[in-house]
Amino acid sequence: MQFFVNDQPLSSEIPLTLTQMLEQINQAEKGVALAVNKQIVSRSQWPQKKVEEGDRITLIKATAGG
């Protein structure tokens, strides 16, 4: 299965939930938000929501700003 995180192609041999996907890319859950194909997925759904073939995932985090 191939999918994209912030336009970078990634692949997985096994099905992944969003929580597992974050683990796979070593991304802590704190302070981040996810949208799949531009639909925001709330944190409570990450353990159930499966990554699908071709999904375009946006991964956002808090950063410094005024």
Partner: protein, 255 residues
Amino acid sequence: MLTIADKTFNSRLFTGTGKFNNSQTMAEAIKASESELVTMALKRVDLNDDQDDILSPLIEAGVNLLPNTSGARDAREAVYAAQLAREALQTNWLKLEIHPDPKYLLPDPIETLKACEELVELGFVVLPYVHADPVLCKKLEEAGAAAVMPLGAPIGSNLGLKTEEFLNIIIEQSQVPVVVDAGIGSPSDAAKAMELGADAVLVNTAIAVSKDPVAMGIAFKEAVTAGRRAYEAGLGVRSHQAQASSPLTAFLEDF
């Protein structure tokens, strides 16, 4: 005490987290300033290179977070950014900023009002960053903004309160707190804004780019406290002629 929506603040100094040399200095400066509300931005995570963790020191410092929608060029993008911010930081507080032009970063009033209406419907506590436009500030208040944040001068310019006369009108008319944001370049600018009757000020660049951001954080804290105290005490009336402070008695006339 300052109350905005459901929160009360002892400090009337809000701070930003941008432009500091490192997150340790940022956290120390914010702690020293005693600011209780701190802005943050959002960015796309770079999967190849992302060591930047500024969130942990802020959570440790116990401050309230105010995510912004910087980067949004219109209402549609701002609403999307707001929803991502709510997910990322688990807060419905939002600094709404929409500035399509990167040269002056001046806020788009039409898109800001439109986004404010939508975001209030979606349950956000909206603090819109706007030009010092009294009519717009009233419209935002009617749309349900929790506060208004008119600018003193362009973001990061350190030019001070170029909009002073209009800030006066906004402060006089507003039923929601007025937070003077952007352009405040020195503690005296912050004190001035507070003397005018602003409920709070938001300062980022002036603290972050100082040679000693921790000391500057303290200087701003003191200026905001002094300005507020002066406002509450009531400033004297201005006059173009002298008004004697000492008795002009004629005791020297015989000399």
